[in-house]
């Protein structure tokens, strides 16, 4: 947040494609959380109220599965996009986990504790963003697999004993809770409550961030873009 330059220049951080994917992800995850947790916590008044609002336990299931289909379709599309499209391949390089991220994380902790002199310098995605991305992706993957097993329960029963389905059910639920916790604490802090973006990082809507913000929070990316002559 550069108070010095009132006409702060902006630079693209999320292309339209990513903004659409992000929006879809947000909506489907919210719907899935609402319809899923009502079942997980069906015995308390909030769960009961929500189940009623969702049109009963049967209709709740329809909504949950409809949202799940969207989410899974998006997961598959996203995987293909990241692996094969030109933009996706570039993003993949940026978001791939490296040894450096772990070192950055430790250095950040040391710096925050006053044990290191320099704060790590992040590229387009620092350890916070990468943890978010890979945490959510693996979570969505696990929750999709368990969800499908439970969905086609008549088919699953042919191969899986009941105790395996019991496990599947409990993993599905707790994995959902885990995802929700990551989003609530990690994502909300990083993209809303962090002083550099408070009250909200607008990139998910406009696609753009201020150049000055980039220089402070993601200096390596700033330098790279400068070199490429984009800013």
């Amino acid at each position: 947040m550069s108070a010095e330059s009132p006409k702060s220049a902006q630079v693209v951080r999320m292309s339209l494609m990513y903004r659409v994917q992000h929006l879809l992800l947000m909506v489907t995850l919210l719907v899935l959380a609402l319809t899923g947790f009502t079942l997980m916590y069906h015995e308390n008044w909030l769960g009961r109220t929500l189940i009623r609002l969702e049109g009963g336990v049967l209709f709740r299931g329809f909504i949950h599965r409809a949202a799940a289909v969207l989410l899974m379709a998006q997961l598959v599309y996203h995987a293909f996009y990241m692996l094969f499209s030109r933009e996706g391949k570039r993003e993949m390089r940026d978001v791939l986990l490296r040894r450096q991220d772990f070192d950055d994380f430790l250095q950040a902790i040391r710096y925050n504790l006053g044990l290191a002199g320099e704060y790590p310098r992040f590229g387009k995605y620092g350890y916070k963003e990468k943890f978010q991305y890979w945490g959510a992706t693996s979570g969505v993957f696990l929750i999709s697999v368990t969800g499908v097993i439970l969905w086609v329960e008549t088919f699953s029963m042919k191969f899986l004993p009941k105790f395996v389905l019991d496990l599947t059910l409990i993993i599905h639920g707790y994995q959902g809770l885990l995802l929700f916790v990551i989003l609530l604490f990690w994502h909300v802090y990083n993209e809303h409550l962090h002083p550099s973006v408070f009250p909200m990082n607008m990139a998910w809507l406009t696609g753009k961030v201020e150049v000055e913000w980039l220089r402070q929070e993601h200096p390596l990316e700033y330098e790279k873009l400068k070199q490429e002559g984009i800013i």
């Binding site: 950040a108 704060y119 042919k158 916790v181």
Partner: protein, 419 residues
């Protein structure tokens, strides 16, 4: 010749008819004498409490009753013309068996003590209008008797005075499957009051000799529901009951008594949605499950399962207790004939889940999440609980540190700019 024979036959028939009539004065003559006064529609007597009592006897109606061929003096033996207040009619003179069983009944005992609120012969059978119980015009006809009983038993004053079951119970009967069969369909096979409670020998249900005493209930219901009684007798509940275990459920414990409705009625305790609660009335009792070494936590584990949740929210096709365990013929899972015996589980689950074979049937159905009963689920739950809690703590710590670090970075930037 032919005429003579016809005449002889007629005389013979008349003689037989006359001989069949009760002994006493010739009925027609005596009758005429009585009816000189009692045939007058306006004859009445003043009652001490004010009001009047009609003393009119409808000859034609009386002739049609079961006693219609008798004479007034058969019952009113002290009647002369004219006469004052006559002695009480004693039905027991001709009906000694009925009188004897009535004397042992709760009505009879009350009557003997001088209570005149209780039903006597006439209260149910009527006086001059008595007909055979098989006669649809009779007060005691199968389809009429309930109204006769309810004349007193739906009277709040009487209920309150003697601590009888309230009007609600009686109204419940009228709305019950038996009451509706009576009221709506006029079904002769339906249960009316005396079918369960008996008639002359009626006693309250807490007395062992009562027809409605707990130990007699299965046999009682089995009078009509004999196929079900047979299944019940073979069940663990039926065997327990016959062995004298009073805690073993009888028909009414699950179905209710006067309130019995169809199982499709949401108010029925054996309506799909209500079954778990009905079974749990006993099976969740610590005393009962300990005394008879029954598995515990059946209700809680069921309600946590998808079947339980679905049922709770109105999907009545979801499996309830009875779907798997059976109902009238219920057996312990150790019995090879039980649908929840390990060997039969694939078939039982298969009723709804066609692919649930022997492989599926591995693992507990009621999942009690403890280390001993369901290690896998227990471990996953513990793992996630610890993992998520730890993650939350770490997140909070990280946020704190991150804010400190950021504040330090800004301080530095400020310093750098000043220099």
């Amino acid at each position: 010749m032919k005429r003579m024979r016809m005449l002889a036959l007629a005389v013979l028939a008349a003689a037989v008819l006359l001989a069949a009539a009760p002994a006493g004065p010739a009925p027609t003559a005596a009758f005429k004498e009585c009816l000189e006064c009692h045939g007058d529609k306006s004859i009445e007597k003043a009652l001490p409490g004010g009001g009047t009592l009609s003393l009119y006897v409808d000859e034609k109606a009386y002739r049609g009753t079961v006693h219609g061929k008798g004479a007034c003096t058969t019952c009113h033996s002290d009647a002369k013309a004219p006469h004052g207040k006559l002695a009480k009619v004693s039905c027991g003179t001709c009906h000694p068996d009925a009188e004897k069983s009535y004397a042992g009944s709760t009505h009879g005992k009350g009557y003997a003590k001088g209570n005149r609120d209780v039903a006597s012969c006439a209260s149910c059978h009527g006086k001059h209008e008595i007909r055979k119980a098989q006669d649809p015009a009779s007060r005691t006809f199968h389809l009429n008797i309930a109204a006769v009983c309810l004349a007193c038993h739906k009277d709040r004053a009487i209920e309150d005075k003697y601590g009888l079951p309230g009007q609600k119970v009686m109204e419940a009967y009228e709305k019950s499957v038996h009451g509706m069969a009576l009221k709506k369909s006029g079904l002769m096979g339906t249960a009316v009051c005396p079918d369960c409670h008996g008639n002359h020998a009626i006693l309250p249900g807490d007395q062992p000799r009562s027809a409605t005493h707990r130990q007699n209930i299965p046999t009682l219901c089995g009078k009509c529901h004999s196929g079900i009684l047979e299944q019940y007798e073979a069940s663990v509940h039926g065997k327990g009951m016959r062995a004298g275990i009073a805690e073993s459920p009888v028909c009414t414990d699950c179905h209710g008594e006067h309130t019995i409705t169809k199982i499709s009625d949401p108010a029925s305790p054996v309506f799909a949605k209500n079954i778990p609660k009905t079974c749990s009335a006993c099976h969740e009792k610590e005393g009962i499950s300990s005394r008879y070494a029954l598995p515990k936590k059946r209700f809680a584990t069921y309600m946590e399962s998808f079947h339980g949740i679905a049922l709770e929210y109105g999907m009545t096709k979801a499996a309830n207790c009875a779907s798997c365990h059976g109902f009238h013929g219920i057996l312990p899972s150790s019995d090879p004939a039980s649908p929840v015996n390990k060997a039969n589980l694939p078939r039982t689950c298969g009723k709804c889940h066609p692919n649930a074979g022997p492989n599926f049937a591995k693992g507990a159905v009621h999942v009690e999440v403890t280390a001993q009963k369901a290690m896998g689920v227990f471990a996953v739950r513990v793992f996630y609980t610890i993992f998520i809690s730890a993650l939350v703590i770490l997140f909070v710590l990280h946020v704190g540190l991150d804010l400190i670090g950021r504040w330090r970075r800004r301080e530095r930037a400020e310093e750098a700019r000043k220099e």
